[in-house]
Symmetry: C2
Subunit: 409 residues, 2 copies
């Protein structure tokens, strides 16, 4: 990938994704192996006027070795200084930019019990930070870069070099970052969400019925005064950001007590360094009653058994089958991409912005309104080229607004 193309991608992350303003602290999370791109993002952040750029270097290989070789007791705690670090950055009004390149099978063969304990300790300790990330207080954006292991998973028949190049091309295309002026392309892209969001917010369907040829048949209630959101949005201080590069979804808040039926996943789910395949989940009155997977069911179990909220839905998102990622026909084994190729649901915490006035609600008020709370928020994909969605209003009238994988209003 050429220096010039990478620079445009880095600028997209800084200027459109996190929308860094003059005088702001910028925090970048990036793997040691991606130092070259991480430093480009750093330089773009200084160009944008950042007061300081702090890089949190990550190292996937050390994460894996720790799961394999550290003492079992270390997975029950999450060091206070890490929480203190988030607090410091959060209070400084940091913009968080995350660059991911994870091997989808990074943690294959590690002890699921260790992973579960570590994930739980981290979720509990970082809950205040996660709340600020989700309620629109903090500005953040995530993008992806390839790694050899990831490229091998996506393109098993290519050489490492070919696979890396192909994955770079696919990522830039999927993230609409391969044009002459990606920042302008994203401005135009943002406009395409307006019609969908306006239509759905006006309709205020009380429930949705989702059906696919794979066997999904699920009816979910939506909370009263729910807001459909898509194409980025404003944080509380009024700055436009795109939390995800790419983003193709419009999404809203299900009622935590209203989901009935069955959902059959249409893609594997990369969760906590493992690939969970052929997920099927059944719901009654909003709660998971049954679940299975053909591979790594243990990981699925650990996820759902995390807490009560992990048994319930926090997000329903629709993606047109004509989205560029979907059209590429590539399974990325990476939620950032796969969720933008396919309609999906999230188990766990809801986004406060998906309900009118949610940003100012306490957790208790949100829960009372039907919003879900949990230590986790995990998207899983069920959308297909034959997905149909029926909106049902308060009088029981049905409207097919999404059919054969596309919006049809």
């Amino acid at each position: 990938m050429t220096e010039a193309k990478l620079k445009k991608y880095a600028e997209l992350l800084v200027r459109a994704g996190g929308n860094v303003q003059k005088g702001q602290l910028v925090v970048i999370n990036v793997d040691v192996n991606d130092a070259r791109f991480g430093r480009m993002v750093r330089d773009c952040a200084y160009d944008a006027g950042a007061s300081e750029v702090f890089i949190i270097w990550e190292d996937d290989s050390s994460v894996r070795e720790r799961y394999l070789r550290a003492d079992s007791s270390v997975f029950d705690t999450f060091p206070e200084w890490t929480v203190e670090r988030f607090r410091h950055f959060d209070e400084s009004g940091a913009v968080y930019l995350r660059i991911t390149s994870s091997d989808p099978g990074l943690l294959a063969g590690t002890d699921p019990d260790r992973r579960m304990r570590a994930a739980k300790a981290a979720s509990i300790a970082t809950k205040p930070h996660a709340k600020l990330m989700m309620d629109g207080t903090l500005r953040w954006s995530v993008c992806a870069v390839p790694s050899p292991a990831w490229a091998k998973t996506v393109f098993p028949d290519l050489t490492e070099e070919q696979g890396m190049e192909r994955l770079w091309e696919s990522i830039l295309k999927g993230a609409r970052a391969d044009g002459e002026d990606p920042i302008a392309d994203w401005k135009a892209h943002k406009q395409s969400f307006v019609k969908k969001v306006e239509y759905l917010n006006k309709k205020q369907f009380t429930s949705l019925r989702l059906t696919t040829g794979l066997g999904t048949d699920l009816t979910i209630g939506l909370v009263k005064n729910h807001r459909w959101v898509g194409g980025g949005g404003k944080t509380k201080d009024g700055v436009e950001t795109f939390p995800n590069l790419p983003t193709e979804e419009v999404f809203t808040m299900p009622d935590r007590n209203k989901a009935n039926g069955k959902v059959v996943a249409s893609m594997p789910l990369a969760y906590n360094g493992n690939l969970i395949e052929d997920i099927i989940i059944e719901f009654k009155d909003g709660r998971v009653t049954n679940y299975s997977a053909s591979k790594n069911e243990e990981s699925l179990k650990n996820m759902i058994e995390m807490d009560e909220g992990a048994h319930r839905l926090g997000e329903v998102a629709l993606v047109a089958n004509s989205s560029p990622i979907s059209q590429m026909g590539i399974l990325f084994y990476n939620t950032l991409f796969d969720e933008n190729a396919s309609a999906h649901l999230a188990l766990g915490r809801a986004y406060p912005k998906n309900i009118e006035g949610g940003g100012e609600m306490t957790t208790e008020a949100l829960t009372a309104a039907g919003g879900n709370d949990s230590l986790i928020h995990v998207d899983f994909m069920f959308g297909t080229a034959d997905l149909r969605v029926i909106g049902i209003d308060e009088n029981g009238n049905e409207t097919v607004f999404f059919d054969k994988g596309e919006f049809v209003f």
Copy 2:
């Protein structure tokens, strides 16, 4: 450099340097560019039974960019979470392993005022941690690996590849890590210090007169009950470590009020990312009265003006001219190596282990005994092939125990 040789070097750092014991937390500081060697050290630490290995990834290029581009205000503070992190590691009984590869001119052209403010803020905030490092509570060890910029400074006429290979060879040779069994070599090396240390501790000279052909003529008093130390030593919990790989010096504690005369440096000093050349310092009654440098005198000024203790001596160290590093005749522009080629003095804080019972003394008691306290501890080299040291006892009797660059008892 071959994998096998690197592995031996990593093992030397873990097993002899830090002497990692079963069940201990190990903290590794390493630059992102040296990830390969850092991960080898990590794996050796797990092999040695570490309960957990935490890597603090550093990035020289981001340090430089921060000095050049961050807002001026950030250099006056040192984030509390970093202090909290030290506290967490210190209280967990961590073993610190540091891998350095700095470009000696990394910070050339950056604002000396920013550097001074940052160094001061860091020194103040980390003083409790630095005390535990120096008083024998914490186990730690430092080693070096080459970087292209460092290799270019040392071997300006070689290509990058040749320079890196040559610097690797020089480092491993200088660190006595190029043999079949470096750990055994270090056990033997340790024995060579015993005779020197025993002789000097028995003599209990009240002062030393240091003279060289370059113009050094300095008489320094030593504190009462001073201890000469060399070849590593035991931490308070009785574990043998080698804080520096390499180590060739024997050193003790000057009286902070007793230094008179002039010292002429025999090598440039790499301090805070700048090379200070041709240092000359004059002392009266222990305190710096005059100083100069032909290059980067500003850095020398910032160092000495840090606080009162930076105007006084905290260490005097002797190194035989026959040491392997000295014999290589290479100027490393790196204190870890250059201080082990040459006799040196340190401005700033004294090591409590250099006085009888020092590990249990309060800072006040140490100061009262003549031990120096400061935010800094910076070694600078003055030893030459014609260095002569005269020991003077309490009755005024003189003994030449070091002459023409060698110990002569």
